[in-house]
C-alpha cells in the first residue's frame, strides 16, 4: 500500500478547501444581493426579473443605483414564454419587484392572471402607440419593440437576375420555389410571430390555405431562428443556399460590409413584438420598482437598447446607432392580432399549423 491511498480519503477535504479558496461559486457572488438598508428603513434593493437576452451596459446600471439609492439585482433566465409562465406560477409571491421582457404574444396571459400592479409611468414621445390593447389599468409599460419580418439576400437576387419578393403572397409564387426558410411557429418565438402575420393577413379561416401553398412551394421549416438564419440562409454564418429567411427588421444592420447592407427586410410582411415592463403585484419594494420602470424609459437606456438587446426604443426622439439609422428600416403598418385573441387561440392555431405543415 502506497501513501497515495492514505491521502485518498482527504479528497472531500481538498474539495472543500477548493471551495473555500474561491475555486467555487460558494462563498462569493452573493455580496451584491445583500440588503443595505436605506435610511427610511425601506428595502435597499430592487429586483428585476427578466429573460436571458436582457443586457444593459454596466455604467448605466451603476447610474441607476446611484440615483435611486437602491442596489439593482437582475434575475435573468429563460425566454419570454418561460418568463411569463414563471410569473404566473409565482403569482402573489413574486420573484422580484419588476418584470421586463413579456411581449404582446404572451402579455394577455399575465394580465388575466393578475400578475402586475397598475403603474402609469410617464411615457416618452411616441411611446403611446405601443401600449398593449386591452390594458386599461396600465399594468404594463412599453419599453422596446422589434418586428419579425421576412429578409432577403439582395446580392443573391442581383446575381440571379431575379426581382426579390415583396409580399406574403409572393413567397408562395412559383418563381420563388424552394428559396424560403423559416423557423417553425411551434418551436420558435419569431416563428409564432410569422404565423400571426399570416393570420392577420389571410384571416382566421384563410391562413391554413396560405400555409398549404407555402409548403407546396418548397418552404423549409427549422426548429429555431439560428438554424434558419445561420445554416440555411445564404448570408448566414454557414452560407446556406436559401436567399429568403424569416428574421427581424433590424437584421439588415448586421450584414453591412463596405458601407452597404447585403440584405433587406420586406416591410409588408412584418409582425411587431413589443416588450413591456411592469411592477409585480406583491413586490417587496414597489417604490423602487416604479423608479426602475421610469429608468427603463429614460433616454440613456432607450438609446442603449439597439446595441444591447437588438431592439428599437419606444422613445421616438432617441437617436439610433449609425448603421441602424441607415439599414434597419421599421415597418410603418405591421400586421397585428389582438393579444387577448392570441392567448385564447394559441393552442388551437399551433395545432392547426402543425397539421398543415406536416401533411
Amino acid at each position: 500500500m502506497r501513501p497515495i491511498h492514505a491521502l485518498a480519503p482527504l479528497a472531500p477535504l481538498v474539495a472543500l478547501a477548493l471551495a473555500a479558496t474561491g475555486c467555487s461559486t460558494i462563498g462569493n457572488g452573493s455580496s451584491g444581493d445583500e440588503s443595505t438598508a436605506s435610511p427610511g428603513g425601506e428595502p435597499g434593493r430592487v429586483v428585476l426579473v427578466t429573460h436571458e437576452s436582457f443586457s444593459l451596459p454596466k455604467p448605466l446600471i451603476k447610474q441607476f443605483e446611484q440615483q435611486s439609492g437602491y442596489d439593482l439585482v437582475v434575475r435573468a433566465s429563460g425566454d419570454a414564454g418561460i418568463l411569463t409562465n414563471k410569473l404566473v406560477l409565482t403569482k402573489g409571491d413574486p420573484l422580484g419587484d419588476v418584470a421586463f421582457g413579456i411581449d404582446n404574444t404572451f402579455a394577455s396571459r399575465a394580465l388575466d392572471e393578475g400578475v402586475f400592479a397598475p403603474y402609469d409611468a410617464p411615457l416618452p414621445d411616441g411611446a403611446d402607440q405601443y401600449r398593449l390593447p386591452g390594458d386599461d389599468e396600465h399594468d404594463l409599460t412599453p419599453i422596446d419593440n422589434a418586428s419579425v419580418c421576412v429578409n432577403v439576400d439582395d446580392t443573391w437576387f442581383a446575381d440571379h437576375h431575379l426581382a426579390p419578393p415583396k409580399t406574403l403572397d409572393d413567397l408562395a409564387a412559383p418563381e420563388y420555389q424552394g428559396l424560403f426558410v423559416t423557423p417553425g411557429a411551434a418551436t420558435s418565438s419569431p416563428g409564432l410571430a410569422f404565423l400571426l402575420s399570416t393570420i392577420a393577413a389571410y384571416g382566421e379561416d384563410g391562413w391554413q390555405d396560405y400555409w398549404a401553398r407555402l409548403m407546396e412551394n418548397g418552404t423549409k421549416l427549422t426548429a429555431g431562428w439560428s438554424d434558419a438564419y445561420e445554416v440555411d440562409f445564404t448570408q448566414g454564418g454557414g452560407q446556406g443556399d436559401r436567399p429568403i429567411v424569416l428574421s427581424y427588421d433590424s437584421s439588415p444592420a448586421f450584414t453591412v460590409a463596405d458601407g452597404e447592407s447585403s440584405t433587406s427586410a420586406l416591410l409588408d410582411t412584418c409582425f411587431r413584438q413589443v416588450e413591456y415592463a411592469g411592477v409585480l403585484d406583491g413586490a417587496a419594494n414597489p417604490a423602487g420598482a416604479e423608479q426602475l420602470v421610469d429608468f427603463l424609459l429614460s433616454p440613456e437606456v432607450q438609446a442603449a437598447l439597439p446595441e444591447s438587446m437588438y431592439v428599437f426604443p419606444v422613445d421616438s426622439s432617441v437617436q439610433l446607432p449609425k448603421e441602424w439609422a441607415r439599414f434597419a428600416k421599421q415597418p410603418s403598418d405591421p400586421f397585428s392580432v389582438d393579444p387577448a385573441s392570441i392567448d385564447e387561440h394559441r393552442d388551437e392555431w399551433l395545432r392547426e399549423w402543425t397539421d398543415v405543415t406536416s401533411r
Binding site: P9, N85, T187, G236, G237
Partner: protein
C-alpha cells in the same frame, strides 16, 4: 439492527438532498397538473394519455433512444477496449477528446451537424437533414463517450488471466470474449447503456435542431407544453409517463445487471501494445473519431473564419472591448464562472455518489434489506428522467418559503448540475464496488480495522480509477449543462453555455463566429481538464 442504522445513516444525506432538490419540486409541479380550478381532477391527466399525438411522441422517444443506445454500445465497446486495454502513444489525449461532445452546447453542435448534412453542406446529397437518422447520429455523437469511459474504467481493472486461460485451452478470441470477458463486463455495460438510454430519451436540443419539426420526443413535448402553452395538465401527464417508463427501465436493468458471482479480480499488469487482432477496436475508433471529429472540425473551421478569410478575430472578440455589447459577460469571465460551478457540482456529485454507491453495493443479509438497497439505487437515477423545465418550475413554486427559501441561492445551479451528474457517478462506481469480494472487508475488519479504515484500504483503492472517470463525467456534465442552468442562472454570472446560446441566437456574422469560438474554448478547456484528471491517477496505477 446496527446494520439498518448504518444504512439509514449513510443514506440520510443523499436522500435529504434528493428529497429537497428533486422529489419536492417535481411533485409540486406535477400536482399542479392534477388541480383544475382548485379541485383535484385526475381525469384530465388520464385523458391526455389517450391522445394519439402522445402515443406517437412516446413511440418515437422509445425507438430512437433504443437504436441510439444500441449503436453507442456497439461502437463504444471496441473503442473502450482499445483505449483502456491497449497502450499506445496519445491514448490519454484520445480519451479526453472523446468526452468533448459532452460539453458542447447542443444548439452549436446542431448547427455544425447541419452545416455538414444540410442542403448546401458537403454531405447534403445524403438527404439526412431533418431525418430520424440525423437525430440518432446526434444522440450517438453525444453519448458514445459514456460507454467508452464507463465500460473502459471497468475493463481496465479486469483481471486478464481467466481470458488467457480460456485462450490457452483453445478458445478463439470471439469465444473468449463471449464466455469470459462479456459476462464480467455485463454490469458495467448494462449500467452504461441504461444511462445512455436515459440521456437519449430525455435529449432536448438534439431532437429539436436535427429533427426539424417532424419529430418530437416526450422531452420536447413537455418543454413546449410547459413554456409555450402552460398546459400543465398535459405536461404532468407526460412527466408521469416519463417517470413510469424510467422505473420500468430500472427494474429491467437491475435484473440484467445482477451477476451470480460478482467477485472482481483486479489487474495490475501494464497493458500491451495494439496487435492485428485488435482490428475491431481500430475500426470502431476510426468510426467514432469520424463521427465526433467531423462536426468538431466544422466547428473549429467555422470559428476561424471571419468573412471570407482565415482569422483569429472571433477569438480576440471574446475578450475584446469593442463588441462587448453582444456578450452578457466576456467569455473569459463566463468560463471562470463555468469552471467554478463545475468544481462545486463535481465535489457534490462525487460525495453524494460515493455514499449512495456504498449503500447500494454492501451485501444484503435479508430480502427486505436487498429490496431497500435496490429501491435506493433506482431512486437516484430518477433525476436523469425528468425534464429540466419541470424541475426548474418546480424549484420556483416549492422552494419559496422558509426554511427552504432557496429560489435565489447561488447554490441552486451547482446542485441541479450535481443531480444530473449523480446517476452517471453512481453507475460508474457501482459495478466496480459491487464486484469487490466482501471477504476482503471482513478480513480487514477481523484484523482490527474500523469501518472507515476498511473503506480506505479495501474499497477506495478499487474505486480510484472509476472515481476519476466519474469525476470527469461530473465535471463535463456540469460544464456543458444548459437546460437547468438556463432556468436558474443569474444575470451577473452566466456560464459559458448560456453566453454561447445568447450569441448564436442573434443576427450578425460576428456573433455566429464568436459563438463557435466560445464553443471551441469550452471544448478545449474540457479536454485539458480531462487530460489532467487522467494524469492524476498515474501515481496510483502501479499500486494495486
Amino acid at each position: 439492527m446496527r446494520r439498518s442504522l448504518e444504512l439509514v445513516g449513510l443514506a440520510a444525506l443523499p436522500l435529504a438532498v434528493l428529497g429537497v432538490f428533486f422529489l419536492l419540486p417535481v411533485s409540486g409541479m406535477v400536482s399542479e397538473g392534477f388541480v383544475t380550478d382548485g379541485r383535484f381532477d385526475p381525469g384530465g391527466v388520464l385523458e391526455v394519455l389517450g391522445r394519439p399525438r402522445v402515443h406517437r411522441v412516446l413511440w418515437f422517444t422509445v425507438w430512437s433512444s433504443t437504436v441510439a443506445t444500441l449503436l453507442a454500445v456497439l461502437l463504444g465497446l471496441p473503442v473502450a477496449h482499445l483505449l483502456h486495454r491497449r497502450r499506445f502513444w496519445g491514448r490519454r489525449a484520445l480519451r479526453s477528446l472523446l468526452l468533448v461532445p459532452f460539453v458542447l452546447p447542443t444548439v452549436v453542435v446542431g448547427v455544425a451537424f447541419r452545416e455538414l448534412i444540410g442542403e448546401a453542406g458537403p454531405l447534403g446529397f445524403l438527404g439526412l437533414d431533418g431525418s430520424a437518422v440525423a437525430i440518432v447520429a446526434g444522440l450517438v455523437f453525444f453519448n458514445v463517450a459514456v460507454v467508452i469511459r464507463a465500460v473502459g474504467a471497468a475493463w481496465e481493472s479486469l483481471d486478464p488471466r481467466p481470458a488467457e486461460a480460456a485462450a490457452a485451452l483453445g478458445a478463439g478470441p470471439a469465444h473468449v470474449f463471449r464466455t469470459v470477458t462479456l459476462p464480467a463486463l455485463r454490469p458495467a455495460i448494462v449500467s452504461a447503456a441504461s444511462v445512455v438510454f436515459l440521456f437519449c430519451a430525455t435529449a432536448f436540443g438534439v431532437v429539436l435542431t436535427l429533427g426539424g419539426l417532424r419529430y418530437s420526443s416526450v422531452e420536447t413535448e413537455i418543454y413546449l407544453l410547459t413554456t409555450n402553452l402552460l398546459d400543465l395538465q398535459a405536461a404532468a401527464a407526460l412527466s408521469i409517463l416519463q417517470l413510469l417508463a424510467i422505473t420500468a427501465l430500472l427494474v429491467v436493468t437491475g435484473r440484467l445487471r445482477a451477476v451470480p458471482d460478482p467477485a472482481l479480480a483486479r489487474s495490475t499488469r501494464r497493458p500491451p501494445r495494439p496487435a492485428p487482432g485488435d482490428w475491431p477496436g481500430l475500426v470502431a475508433t476510426g468510426l467514432v473519431l469520424l463521427l465526433v471529429g467531423a462536426p468538431v472540425a466544422a466547428l473549429v473551421a467555422g470559428s476561424l473564419r471571419v468573412g471570407d478569410a482565415w482569422s483569429l478575430g472571433n477569438y480576440r472578440a471574446l475578450t475584446g472591448e469593442g463588441t462587448q455589447h453582444a456578450l452578457l459577460a466576456s467569455a473569459t469571465d463566463a468560463l471562470v464562472t463555468s469552471l467554478r460551478t463545475a468544481v462545486d457540482a463535481t465535489w457534490m456529485s462525487l460525495s453524494l455518489g460515493v455514499l449512495v454507491t456504498v449503500v447500494v453495493t454492501r451485501r444484503s443479509r435479508t430480502r427486505g434489506e436487498r429490496r431497500a438497497r435496490g429501491l435506493l439505487d433506482g431512486l437516484f437515477m430518477l433525476p436523469l428522467g425528468v425534464s429540466a423545465v419541470t424541475l426548474g418550475f418546480g424549484f420556483l413554486i416549492t422552494l419559496d418559503r422558509p426554511p427552504l427559501d432557496l429560489r435565489d441561492s447561488p447554490l441552486l445551479v451547482p446542485i441541479a448540475q450535481a443531480l444530473v451528474a449523480l446517476p452517471l457517478v453512481v453507475r460508474t462506481l457501482v459495478p466496480v464496488l459491487g464486484g469487490i469480494d466482501d471477504r476482503q472487508r471482513q478480513a480487514a475488519a477481523s484484523l482490527g480495522a474500523g469501518p472507515l479504515r476498511t473503506f480506505a484500504t479495501v474499497d477506495l483503492p478499487a474505486m480510484w480509477r472509476p472515481l476519476t472517470a466519474a469525476a470527469g463525467f461530473a465535471f463535463a456534465v456540469s460544464l456543458g449543462e444548459f437546460g437547468a442552468t438556463s432556468f436558474l442562472a443569474r444575470e451577473d454570472h452566466p456560464t459559458l453555455p448560456i453566453v454561447i446560446y445568447h450569441l448564436i441566437g442573434h443576427p450578425g456574422a460576428m456573433n455566429y463566429g464568436m459563438a463557435l469560438a466560445a464553443s471551441v474554448v469550452l471544448a478545449t478547456t474540457t479536454a485539458l481538464v480531462m487530460l489532467a484528471v487522467d494524469r492524476l491517477r498515474v501515481p496510483s496505477v502501479g499500486a494495486f
